[in-house]
């Protein structure tokens, strides 16, 4: 098996908030091999984005990685000097953000903003050459009239076009890894498919690895090879995509799948997971999913924290009773 390109290892990230600290990410590990597509799925606040931002040193000021490592090509990004991180960001790792409305600087042209990343990492690239490269990039991501578009400001772009420009920006320096943080969440459904196609195409052409952060299982099914399911700052299940959809061994994953609308079943009401995601400032002791879990039934084991245990080939689940889900299809009542 090839060496992982990025190996996140037991990352713990905390945020200072009024009246204490919140542990947003609590010992998350995941590997991405070169060229691979990994989906990270979970509800809002489950720590998906924070995990990635922790690895890249892009946490906001009140956030801090308190433990763990993020090895990228043999170097630990956690604790790496800012200057070194700057050399990796944008050059070896490209980012696509969720909201293309706010992710662009409103007072700089789109072209300038892409060229800036090119010139940062390609010493000696002239302004003119960078400009020409920007036009090529915009054409590659399917933006019509790229010469004119490069000179326009973000507000002159539609949401979909802006996200295309964002992808052009992320792939500008041919990074080995692209992290897409909910790249389609803020877009119209019709545009979502186009953007996913584009991301897939870009990934194939540049042979980059792709981490797809999403809460959309449809995106996971369509795009990814391996899936990491996160809940309340932890990984609860990880497996290849087929296994997750057909043989999920964690009640949370099952709950997510069950709440998907399906074309072949007519239901009066979509079954949702009961209860609320836990407050990260007051996580229930033991298994964080316990209060919402149908397997709990007051069993004592659920009061201790489950480890991420093997549940099959390349399949791990953080549930004490994952064996009970073996063979069962569909959701758990």
């Amino acid at each position: 098996m090839t060496e992982p390109l990025l190996s996140i290892d037991e990352i713990v990230t905390e945020f200072r908030v009024e009246g204490g600290v919140v542990r947003a990410v609590n010992g998350v590990s995941l590997d991405v091999r070169p060229g691979e597509t990994v989906g990270v799925v979970g509800e809002s606040g489950s720590g998906k984005s924070v995990t990635m931002m922790s690895a890249l040193g892009l946490l906001p000021g009140h956030g801090r990685v308190v433990a763990g490592h993020a090895r990228f090509r043999g170097r630990d990004l956690v604790g790496l000097a800012e200057r070194e991180l700057e050399r990796i960001r944008g050059r070896e790792i490209g980012l696509v953000f969720q909201d293309p409305m706010t992710a662009f600087n409103p007072v700089m042209t789109v072209g300038e903003q892409i060229a800036e990343g090119l010139r940062r990492h390609q010493a000696g690239l002239s302004r003119r050459a960078a400009g020409a490269r920007v036009v090529e990039l915009l054409a590659e991501v399917g933006i019509p009239a790229p010469e004119r578009r490069a000179r326009q400001y973000p507000h002159e772009f539609s949401g979909g076009m802006r996200q295309r420009a964002m992808i052009a920006m992320a792939m500008a320096n041919r990074p080995a890894l692209i992290i897409a943080d909910e790249p389609t969440t803020a877009l119209d459904v019709t545009i979502q498919a186009q953007i996913l196609d584009l991301l897939g195409r870009v990934q194939q052409e540049t042979e980059a690895a792709l981490i797809m952060i999403t809460h959309d299982l449809g995106v996971i099914a369509e795009m990814t090879e391996r899936v990491v399911v996160m809940y309340a700052g932890r990984v609860v299940e990880t497996a290849d995509v087929d296994t997750v959809f057909h043989e999920a061994r964690h009640p949370y994953t099952r709950g997510l799948l069950r709440s998907l609308p399906r074309l072949d079943h007519r239901v009066a009401e979509l079954p949702a997971i009961g209860g609320q995601p836990p407050n990260p400032q007051a996580l229930p002791p033991g298994c964080s999913y316990r209060p919402r879990c149908p397997l709990n039934q007051g069993r004592d084991e659920c009061l201790t924290r489950p480890e991420l245990n093997p549940a099959g080939r390349g399949h791990r689940s953080a549930c004490h009773f994952h064996a009970e889900l073996a063979g069962l299809t569909g959701g758990v009542e």
Partner: protein, 318 residues
């Protein structure tokens, strides 16, 4: 843009007519009668009431208010702002004479205020909740709340009287001149006015910068591997300056009005002192000229703010 500016100027002209009517009326309502002051009761002998009536007729002050206004407006449009009651000199001439010194003082004060206030405010935002931030907040609070006449007197006492470093009044030394001499006279009044301006600028700059620092596009900029210096200097600063330009432009007339005190303390021969003298002498034509000038300035500065906004923010199209 040009069409917008033209349209705004036309609207401004209408507004100006309204303002002038209002001011004209208000001035007539002010207590005190300039004619009474012209005919000195101590030295005048004879029929004083008749003399006052005669003078009133000469000056056209016997006519009704609307007629007086129409006459004044007619002359105003021809560039004649009337004549000073106290010196009989043309108002326009007196005002132009006083405008230069005021612009010199205000301009320098504005530059000092911007250069001192905006960098400190930005720094305070970047070092939020540190000693730098608290220090900046304390200094700006002092600058905002201590009245400028007090700071002016303090400045005169320390730098003029005790240390004898700087002149304490006027624009030039008597008989003297030259650039250095002028600059030395400018230091205290412009410095004090400038620091008074810097107080609020620190606040505005800090708030504007904090607002920008939380924005997503800065994370995008960092995700491209840009240095912190470039992220702050290029991406954050440009966005933070947008609201500041508006604030500064709109405040220029306030600065003009605030100069009255400082000009008085430093015997600066500017517009502010002219206005004060005019009030004391019931010199209505001068006063009317002054307030009209302020009105024009307010309208122009608002227009300037909008145009500047459109120039630095590509999202705004006029």
């Amino acid at each position: 843009m040009v069409a917008y500016v033209v349209r705004r100027l036309l609207v401004s002209a209408v507004v100006l007519v309204g303002i002038s009517m209002l001011l004209f009326t208000l001035l007539q309502l002010m207590p005190g009668d300039p004619v009474e002051m012209m005919i000195d009761p101590m030295s005048f002998s004879g029929d004083r009431a008749a003399a006052i009536a005669r003078r009133r007729e000469q000056l056209g002050l016997d006519a009704s208010l609307p007629i007086q206004y129409v006459r004044w407006a007619g002359e105003f449009l021809q560039g004649n702002l009337g004549f000073s009651y106290s010196t009989s000199r043309p108002v326009a001439e007196v005002m132009v004479e006083r405008l230069g010194p005021t612009v010199r003082l205000m301009g320098t004060a504005l530059v000092i205020g911007l250069l001192a206030g905006i960098p400190v405010g930005i720094l305070a935002a970047l070092r939020r909740n540190t000693l730098v931030d608290y220090g900046a907040a304390a200094l700006s609070l002092v600058a905002i709340s201590v009245p400028s006449f007090f700071v002016a007197l303090l400045g005169i006492y320390v730098f003029g009287l005790k240390l004898d470093w700087l002149p304490t009044g006027g624009m030039n030394s008597v008989g003297g001149g030259g650039l250095v001499d002028s600059l030395r006279h400018l230091v205290l009044p412009a410095g004090i006015l400038g620091l008074a301006l810097a107080g609020p600028y620190v606040r505005y700059a800090r708030a504007a910068m904090l607002e920008v620092l939380g924005q997503d596009f800065l994370t995008t900029a960092r995700s491209k591997g840009l240095s912190r210096r470039r992220v702050v200097g290029r991406h954050a600063l440009h966005n933070a300056l947008i609201p500041l330009v508006t604030v500064v432009a709109i405040q220029i007339p306030v600065l003009f009005a605030g100069a009255v005190v400082v000009e008085q303390v430093f015997a600066w021969p500017g517009m502010g002192r002219l206005a004060l003298e005019a009030v004391l002498a019931r010199d209505y034509p001068i006063l009317l000229g002054f307030v009209m000038a302020i009105a024009v300035l307010v309208l122009l500065c608002n227009l300037l703010a909008d145009v500047a906004y459109a120039v630095i923010d590509p999202r705004i199209r006029l």
